[in-house]
């Protein structure tokens, strides 16, 4: 693990800790039903203020159960994660391709200097200096 990867792992660890600590420390224990939404207090706040409010429009579609709802939420997260992974994957692949092309050229000597530019442009936007870091680009 190089320094870059370590920092990235540390960032993830802190985020995970921020999510787990409230659970581990039992910060929801004072509630009847902990970790629902911020609704415990918000509910009292709103019903105190306006107990008779009636929603005047209901959702066109409502997930029939909590399970379906969580499935749709996972779908949302999965879609997002898929696109993100595609993005970083394609860029990593490009850089590796560039690197390989450059290595081949180095091996072949400087007989065909114009292929360098061709390989570089085929590799997309990567510049020579970030090719050296390609192994650090873990998603």
């Amino acid at each position: 693990m190089n320094r870059n990867t370590k920092i990235n792992a540390l960032l993830l660890l802190v985020v995970a800790a921020l999510a787990v600590l409230p659970l581990a420390l039992g910060l929801g224990d004072h509630k009847e039903e902990p970790f629902t939404g911020a609704d415990g207090e918000a509910e009292t706040a709103i019903t105190e203020i306006e107990p008779d409010y009636k929603p005047w429009f209901s959702p066109l579609y409502e997930p029939p159960s909590g399970e379906i709802e969580s499935a749709l939420f996972s779908l949302q997260a999965a879609l997002g994660a898929g696109v993100l992974a595609y993005y970083f994957g394609i860029h990593r692949g490009r850089r590796q391709g560039e690197e390989r092309a450059r290595a081949q050229l180095d091996a072949a000597g400087k007989t065909a200097p114009d292929t360098v530019t061709r390989a570089a442009s085929a590799g997309g936007e990567g510049s020579p200096e970030d090719a050296g870091q390609s192994t650090t680009g873990r998603v």
Partner: protein
């Protein structure tokens, strides 16, 4: 929690059910804002979204290569707003993920990406809603990105390191979204005795305190993605003015930003 005694009846959701949705999603639930408020917020949001669609099409036309990164920014919002995380107050909320796109592509484009996310949640998940879309767009897709972007630009001007500015940009984008939500609810439901400010205090203390650690998480995750982007897409970040290569470029991007 104990069920609410007030019966609103008539097959409509009870206020209890509505609140579950309001607070679970942290967006204002369907039908929850009085019609006048719903219309006013929609009218306020519409020009921003229209302007955003224009900026977005211009960006895609002039720089087709940025489509992929645009998709990634939208995807980041999708992931983060699906992540309901526990917080110190013993309740749950979710981040917004709008800071990243605002920093990369400027807030108008984020207004569009945020609106898409909110529409997805309103139509499929019954979170947020169509009648409250305007208000939710205003908080999450307009004020959040602009506030985060402003902080990001300000800190950059003072030469603060990139990742620190990204953290605070995302942090402020997240937190300001929920501050606006509190204001919107307080405007719609002013406290009978202490009025708007009293209600704002109530909603604010509930939402903002819950959101604080989540805003930190969002800041850290945005920094993580930005670090990965710096490793993988230097060229694009330089073009977008996030990465500066040398003094010459710096003044160039700054005048460009001012000119825009």
């Amino acid at each position: 929690m104990s069920p609410v005694s007030q019966e609103t009846g008539q097959g409509a959701s009870t206020i209890h059910e509505v609140l579950e949705r309001v607070c679970g999603a942290m967006h204002i639930a369907e039908g929850f804002l009085p019609p006048a408020h719903a219309i006013a917020w929609s009218v306020a949001s519409a020009p921003f979204v229209v302007h955003g669609v224009r900026s977005l099409t211009r960006e895609v036309r002039e720089h087709p290569e940025s489509t992929l990164l645009l998709g990634a920014s939208g995807a980041f919002t999708f992931v983060l707003s699906a992540l309901k995380l526990p917080s110190v107050t013993g309740s749950c909320s979710h981040p917004t993920g709008t800071g990243l796109g605002a920093i990369l592509f400027r807030p108008p484009i984020m207004a569009v990406l945020g609106t898409i996310t909110l529409l997805f949640q309103a139509l499929l998940l019954a979170h947020g809603g169509l009648t409250t879309l305007g208000a939710n767009v205003f908080s999450m897709a307009i004020v959040g990105p602009w506030a985060g972007y402003a902080v990001y630009r300000l800190l950059r001007r003072f030469g603060v390191p990139l990742m620190v500015t990204v953290f605070f940009g995302a942090f402020v984008a997240d937190l300001s979204t929920y501050c606006v939500t509190s204001v919107q609810l307080a405007l719609a439901f002013p406290d009978p005795s202490s009025g708007f400010l009293g209600a704002l205090g109530k909603f604010g203390s509930i939402f903002a305190v819950t959101q604080l650690p989540l805003a930190v998480s969002e800041g850290l995750l945005t920094v993580l993605v930005m670090r990965l982007l710096v490793q993988s897409s230097k060229g694009e970040l330089t073009r977008l003015g996030v990465l500066l290569s040398g003094k010459q470029n710096r003044t160039e991007t700054e005048t460009e930003v001012v000119a825009r």
